[in-house]
């Protein structure tokens, strides 16, 4: 079952612009994670934000979490052509001792040089 739903499904921006991607989910979570996937490759973990956190930064990435709205956003600032990839959010549903990550369907980001 898939819980996280990313929005938009596809995004095309110019190099240097900021890219904002959103993820909504239905049930309570322990944490939410964002991953990147370059074409035809495996996923790479970007950032994990716990349910008691509101914002996290990692380099040009900024992730926010609003548990009251059950949503998260990933902001990539000053985008580069190398940021072209698919981005997935994954949720760890709560409660649950044997919780497993549930991935969304992904957002395709194209950054034009």
């Amino acid at each position: 079952s898939q819980q996280g739903e990313e929005d938009p499904q596809a995004l095309s921006i110019q190099e240097g612009e900021n890219a904002t991607m959103n993820c909504s989910y239905k049930t309570s979570i322990n944490n939410l994670q964002w991953y990147r996937q370059n074409s035809g490759r495996g996923l790479v973990h970007l950032i994990l934000i716990r349910s008691n956190e509101r914002e996290k930064h990692s380099g040009r990435l900024r992730v926010t979490l609003d548990t009251s709205k059950k949503s998260s956003s990933l902001l990539i600032t000053a985008s580069r052509a190398a940021d072209t990839a698919s981005y997935f959010c994954a949720t760890d549903p709560a409660p649950g001792a044997n919780s497993k990550l549930t991935f969304g369907k992904g957002i395709t980001l194209s950054v034009r040089p």
């Binding site: 495996g42 949720t91 001792a97 497993k100 990550l101 969304g104």
Partner: protein, 116 residues
Amino acid sequence: DVKVTQSSRYLVKRTGEKVFLECVQDMDHENMFWYRQDPGLGLRLIYFSYDVKMKEKGDIPEGYSVSREKKERFSLILESASTNQTSMYLCASSLGQGTSGKYEQYFGPGTRLTVT
């Protein structure tokens, strides 16, 4: 750095063949996962394992089985491959025996399987 390797990047098999996909991780992770990824459907969990010889069904286990005889190795088996199993298969590992959702997952490069 964690490294997760998969035995093949591309594989072509015939309908009815038995197919083995191998995954090896080098970081002593307790948890290992097999996903399939299809356009428009995202990642779907087939099976996961939180310890040697332990396995649990994911969301789409039908037509698949798994084997984990050693901690570092997790195999996905298609007993009798069918065309609807043509897909990208991704293996992953993580810390946290059982509580896998609380840790980041490390993915292999994927195996693109075509069943003709």
